[in-house]
């Protein structure tokens, strides 16, 4: 598979590298050519030296200066010799050009080459030739310079073009596409070029952006619809428990008894309202948004107490961590374990135990009953949606929903049998702050009367964290109806709200809301006003 490359990488591979290779190749070829030229030239020089030596031998034999002078002068002018010297019995006799110092020597061994030729017909004489070692060095340097002058500007111009494309087209396109902007930097960049092809590209781009927006909207709506469908199904299942409780009231004998059950009626109605509210916000139902929240058993168990008493089943909470603060999506976690307890009430003979445990940063909640357990053949589809066993009115949603919620927390729900008992275990990973002491009174017993007004807590983490505690406490003293300020907790400045609108606003955003507090916001009143403005509470 071909991985996409960066523009730089593409430029290097397709342009810079070939140019480098071309320059390198040209330089190597020039070196080879220069060496070859030198070799050829020196062959010519040697041939000329041999020919001239024969002429000089004749001149020396005849003592004819005309032959010697014209022959050597012609060779100097035409055969690349820098100097020609004649020695007689080792003593300098003649040179062309005229040599005063009688030392016929090259000015530089690097630039000049010396070689002697013995004249066989006049053995007393020898001729020394001095020739340029690199006769074409100027040509070579010019070639090198021309190569460099041609190749490097081309390279840099291409680099410039690539960078212009990157700066003026690709980067604006990235920004515009990222934000699905039509009149963004990409549009501005294209308008600068004023090129027909680019304008066409922009038109096409605008069309595609509109299309993408529409498709995204559709997909969002479809997701929302699907979630609503699922939740309706789920709520149909969940509503049966409170309705069952209310139904039971119809069979009570007198008003006094009904009066004693008012609390149950009220809680059942509350649960149904809560579920209806979930229905209203169906698209958010499956979103798990862990926050630091308090674990409470009272809310969840309120609706199950009647059923338990009717079936004479004791619900016992072992190692109770009621009131502990965990990182979780509390309402959904409650829904999960309530489903497990509800199932246990159907299967248990005499007793159900709710056992909680903290291990490291993980939190475990086990629902243990003394029922017969799940048959082996049903185990593979135990947590599948629609799978039910042993209940004449089962919908097969409870366990599937519990698993979905726990997996949404990064954990899971497990089933096992131990010592004749059925155990469903919820695992909440990384939910515990280890620095806290979670040792609880094992004897604390569930009290159905502990049902409290629902308070939805929302954490808003301010930036900078250095927002002083005094400012927070000052904000808390405002006793706002919208925000309950609880101060610094877990390294963040926490603001707690009991207003749904605040929660929804935050839930629709990121999992954790960071609000940068500018000094320009002023004091606590100013910050509060800003928060209200942000959450449309003003």
């Amino acid at each position: 598979m071909n991985h996409p490359r960066t523009l730089q990488s593409w430029f290097f591979e397709t342009t810079a590298k070939p140019i480098y290779l071309m320059i390198g190749f040209m330089m190597v070829m020039q070196i080879i050519f220069t060496l070859y030229q030198n070799k050829v030239k020196f062959e010519e020089v040697r041939v000329s030296a041999t020919s001239l030596s024969n002429i000089l031998a004749v001149g020396l034999l005849q003592k004819n200066r005309l032959v010697i002078e014209t022959g050597s002068a012609y060779a100097i002018a035409n055969s690349g010799f820098k100097k020609i010297c004649i020695y007689e019995r080792g003593e300098f006799r003649y040179s062309i050009p005229f040599e005063v110092d009688k030392e016929c020597r090259a000015d530089s061994w690097f630039f000049f080459k010396e070689f002697d030729v013995i004249l066989e017909s006049v053995p007393d004489f020898r001729v020394k030739f001095i020739a340029l070692r690199f006769p074409h060095w100027k040509d070579s340097i010019v070639l090198f310079l021309v190569s460099g002058l041609v190749c490097f500007p081309i390279y840099f111009i291409l680099l410039l073009l690539v960078r212009k494309v990157d700066t003026h087209l690709i980067t604006p396109l990235k920004e515009s596409v990222g934000n699905l902007q039509i009149d963004g930097p990409f549009s501005k960049a294209l308008s600068k070029f004023n090129i027909v092809e680019l304008d066409d590209l922009m038109s096409s781009y605008v069309g595609k952006i509109e299309e993408i927006k529409e498709l995204t909207e559709r997909e969002s709506q479809a997701t929302r619809d699907a979630a609503i469908g699922r939740i309706i199904t789920q709520l149909s299942h969940d509503l049966r428990a409170p309705l069952g409780s209310i139904e039971q009231l119809l069979y009570l004998p007198d008003d006094a008894a009904l009066s004693s059950q008012k609390l149950r009626i009220r809680e059942s109605i509350y649960r149904m309202n809560s579920m209806i509210e979930s229905l209203r916000r169906a698209d958010l139902e499956l979103m798990i948004e862990p926050k630091i929240e308090t674990l409470r058993f009272d809310h969840g168990l309120t609706g199950l107490i009647g059923k338990a008493k009717q079936k004479a089943i004791e619900i016992d909470i072992q190692n109770c961590y009621h009131g502990v603060r965990l990182l979780m999506d509390a309402p959904k976690f409650e829904r999960a374990w309530v489903n497990l307890v509800s199932n246990a009430l159907d299967a248990a003979k005499r007793k159900i135990m709710i056992v909680t445990e903290i291990s490291g940063q993980d939190f475990f909640l086990r629902v243990v009953d003394d029922g017969p357990g799940v048959p082996e053949d049903f185990l593979p589809k135990l947590f599948q949606r629609g799978a039910t066993h042993g209940k004449h009115d089962g919908t097969g949603l409870g366990l599937a929903y519990a698993r979905q919620i726990m997996q949404g927390h990064g954990g899971d729900v497990g089933y096992r049998r131990e010592h004749g008992q059925t155990i469903f275990e919820c695992h909440l990973p990384n939910a515990v702050d280890q620095e806290k002491d979670y040792t609880m009174d094992n004897s604390e017993v569930f009290d159905a009367g502990l049902v409290q007004k629902l308070v939805r807590t929302v954490a808003i983490c301010f930036e900078p964290e250095s927002l002083s505690k005094s400012v927070l406490s000052e904000m808390a003293s405002q006793k706002s109806d919208d925000f309950l300020f609880s101060g610094e907790m877990h390294g963040a400045n926490i603001v707690v709200s009991n207003i749904d609108e605040v929660m929804f606003e935050i839930l629709e955003g990121n999992e954790q809301e960071f609000i940068h507090v500018s000094p320009a916001w002023g004091d606590a009143n100013g910050i509060l006003a800003r928060l209200k403005l942000k959450f449309n509470l003003s």
């Binding site: 020396l60 200066r65 014209t70 005063v100 840099f156 700066t167």
Partner: protein
């Protein structure tokens, strides 16, 4: 992605270099072709000439170089030493080198528009023999004495051996075989000229017009067929031409013997030994050096001093090389080095005699500016001398050719041809630049005979005898050879013939404007 400033700089440098290279290339291309007709090239000589300038007046290498620009002879020397037709379209000679026929190029014209014919040569040579001589002998004598009928010239006024067969056919008949006849005829002194009052007209590329005694203007001869090249030349005499060219006042220093380190602006042509430096010894009757032993002694003493003072020679900055022998190295007539050294050393035994003689009769030495260390060195050796400096070039020529007041006169002679007969100019009986003070009968006779030898083997043997005679008779003490070159402004001129032979050619054949 930000564009790095370095990349931008590289691009700018690259583009700048391309533009600069292109501009440089374009400039060099145009500079090589562009002709600047109004540009006058200024040429300086460090030695002065004598006016008026006409072919037969030539008696120095300077004048030879100047005259070649206006006056053309029958033949000329090509780049490779070959003798090429010039005013003669072609030439022929018989087997014994006595009869030479020349086909004259009658399409050539003098600068007044008149046509060149064969009779112009006969007339010019005859007139040249009648014009005032600038040396001891008439300038053309060294050749025309061998022409048939020369002995009757003073009586008849005509050279019988020079015949005008037709307007375009000239025949020259020599009494005896003349090996170097053609070579001698290449000199501008044998050119055809028209004589009109003070003006001398030639067929050459330029017309020379004296502005002052020290400045000559050379303007184009409009009837000369050659186009292009240099259009206007000014020749000036300067005492320190090397300084002037370094300052950019002139373009060429002609025939400079000064060593110059080449730069981008100043370049030097390549030359060979083209002049000899002599102590001419006055051997006239009654003079100190009429005694041959004293001449030998002086020769030995001078070479002792030269060997003992190599640094002093180097400090002269001359392109000079010490050599006892008059003939060029590797030339016919050149003696083995040890033989020459032995002959010179024969004078050692007479040095005391010379010193004693000088106590009685101090030796008068006339010199120029250079080699003054020799005077001091001679005095240190015990020689009593009376020295004087030449006041001018004219002063030297007067002394050497006519006055003969000095016993020793330092001078330069550019007489070397490739053939040893070149030395005839200086030591031959009818030599153009000889002087009675250096005439030695034995030497003169050997040179007279030598010019008629045509067998190469005989030439070598004969001139070795002449060389021995020179070292024994000592007409002059040969100090060594000088190589002259042209120094030129390479930023203004390009050189077309980098190698220069002894007979320096026309400026327009050597240089061109950039």
């Amino acid at each position: 992605m930000q564009i790095k400033a370095k990349a931008k700089i590289f691009v700018l440098i690259g583009l700048g270099a391309i533009i600069a290279s292109a501009a440089f290339w374009a400039k060099s291309q145009s500079a090589g072709k562009k002709l600047q007709p109004n540009r006058t090239v200024r040429v300086a000589f460090g030695v002065q000439w004598k006016l008026p300038l006409y072919p037969a007046s030539q008696h120095s290498m300077i004048e030879d170089a100047i005259l070649a620009n206006q006056f053309e002879s029958l033949v000329t020397r090509g780049e490779n030493g070959l003798i090429l037709p010039q005013c003669a379209k072609s030439y022929r000679f018989n087997d014994d080198f006595t009869v030479f026929d020349f086909d004259i190029d009658t399409s050539r014209r003098f600068s007044d528009g008149s046509t060149l014919t064969a009779s112009d040569f006969k007339r010019s040579w005859e007139e040249g023999l009648r014009l005032r001589k600038n040396s001891a002998n008439r300038n053309l004598e060294d050749m025309v004495t061998l022409v048939v009928g020369f002995e009757d010239f003073d009586r008849t006024g005509s050279l019988r051996g020079v015949e005008v067969i037709s307007s375009d056919h000239l025949r020259v008949t020599f009494k005896r075989p003349f090996r170097m006849a053609l070579m001698h005829l290449t000199g501008s002194r044998f050119a055809a000229f028209q004589h009109s009052g003070e003006k001398f007209l030639g067929t050459g590329r330029f017309v020379i017009s004296p502005v002052t005694d020290s400045i000559l203007q050379l303007k184009r001869n409009l009837f000369h067929p050659t186009d292009g090249g240099l259009q206007s030349i000014e020749i000036v005499y300067l005492e320190d031409p090397e300084k002037a060219i370094a300052l950019g006042d002139i373009d060429i220093v002609a025939m400079s013997a000064t060593r110059v380190d080449e730069t981008d602006e100043l370049k030097v042509t390549v030359g060979v030994e083209d002049a000899s430096l002599f102590f001419h010894l006055n051997g006239l009757k009654g003079r100190t050096f009429s005694e041959s032993r004293l001449r030998l002694a002086f020769q030995a003493l001078v070479h002792q001093i030269l060997k003992e003072n190599p640094d002093a020679i180097k400090n002269t900055r001359e392109r000079f090389q010490v050599d006892e022998q008059t003939f060029l190295p590797l030339q016919a007539g050149r003696l083995p080095q040890n033989q020459a050294a032995a002959l010179v050393a024969e004078g050692d035994q007479y040095i005391d005699m010379l010193i004693k003689a000088s106590q009685v009769q101090p030796i008068k030495i006339a010199m120029g500016k250079t080699f003054s260390f020799l005077e001091v060195a001679l005095q240190r050796k015990g020689l009593k001398i009376i020295s004087r400096r030449y006041t001018s070039t004219e002063d030297y020529f007067n002394e050497f050719y006519y006055k003969h007041e000095s016993d020793v006169a330092l001078g330069t002679a550019s007489v070397h041809l490739s053939d040893p007969d070149g030395m005839y100019h200086y030591l031959g009986k009818h030599g153009a630049i000889t002087s009675p003070m250096i005439q030695r009968p034995l030497v003169a006779e050997l040179f007279e005979v030598g010019r008629n030898i045509t067998d190469q083997d005989q030439i070598v043997a004969h001139y070795q005898k002449a060389a021995e005679a020179i070292l024994k008779e000592v007409p002059a003490v040969h100090l060594g050879f000088v190589s002259h070159s042209y120094i030129y402004r390479a930023d203004r001129l390009q050189v077309d013939r980098h190698y220069l032979e002894r007979h320096f050619d026309q400026f327009a054949k050597v240089f061109n404007l950039k």
